[in-house]
């Protein structure tokens, strides 16, 4: 759990200080995948299943957001 949280924080840090816009989009994509893994890991630890739907929706929205960000970078550049 702590290992995964530290990895997720690394992704977030790269998203904040990424030198270019594709770096940020890539970091947010990886952060979303990591977030889904964290939610599932939390459910496996505590045993309650309340947040599994949240994991599903976060995975979908993260994918769509990544596609939109990539399209935006492709049009605008930098």
């Amino acid at each position: 759990m702590a290992l995964s949280a530290i990895g997720s924080l690394c992704f977030l840090l790269r998203a904040i200080l990424g030198p270019s816009l594709p770096d940020r989009v890539m970091a947010v994509d990886g952060f979303v995948v990591t977030l889904v893994a964290l939610i599932v890991l939390n459910a496996a630890r505590t045993g309650n299943q309340w947040f599994l739907g949240v994991a599903l929706v976060v995975a979908f929205v993260g994918f769509v957001g990544t596609l939109a960000g990539a399209r935006f970078v492709e049009r605008r550049g930098r």
Partner: protein, 136 residues
């Protein structure tokens, strides 16, 4: 200590370690393609391992976990492909390419496959002797 708990712990530890490695790689690499290499593959496998641990551990809700893992597995390659193409086409992104840009001649040409010589058409099945006279 149950065998099930041991399996769950090993799977979750492996997944969390992969996620941590991906985070360290994303922070430490100095090129966007190297960062994408770290950021797209390792977290996907980490999510798979953590999802497997949750499927073993949980009583209900296994279908949701499996669906989340399948969604990640389907969408992560598409997303990373889009990011890579955007990073190539965008201006002002530093690309530290080792062996030159082999794709540039294709990217600028609107009809790239016209220049490539077509493969010689072979009708014979191949195991035939080319020196042999054609059957008449």
């Amino acid at each position: 200590m149950d065998v099930t708990e041991l399996i769950v712990g090993l799977l979750a530890l492996g997944g969390a370690g992969l996620v941590l490695l991906a985070g360290v790689g994303v922070l430490r690499f100095d090129d966007i393609y190297a960062r994408m290499h770290a950021a797209t593959k390792a977290p996907t496998l980490g999510a798979l391992l953590i999802g497997a641990a949750a499927i073993v551990a949980l009583d209900g809700g296994r279908l949701k976990v499996a669906l989340a893992v399948v969604i990640i597995f389907v969408t992560a390659p598409v997303a990373s492909h889009m990011i890579g193409r955007a990073a190539y086409r965008a201006d002002g992104v530093e690309l530290h390419l080792d062996a030159g840009d082999a794709f540039a001649s294709f990217a600028d040409d609107p009809e790239p496959w016209e220049d490539v010589a077509p493969r010689p058409a072979t009708d014979d099945p191949g195991d035939e002797d080319p020196e042999a006279p054609p059957p008449s």
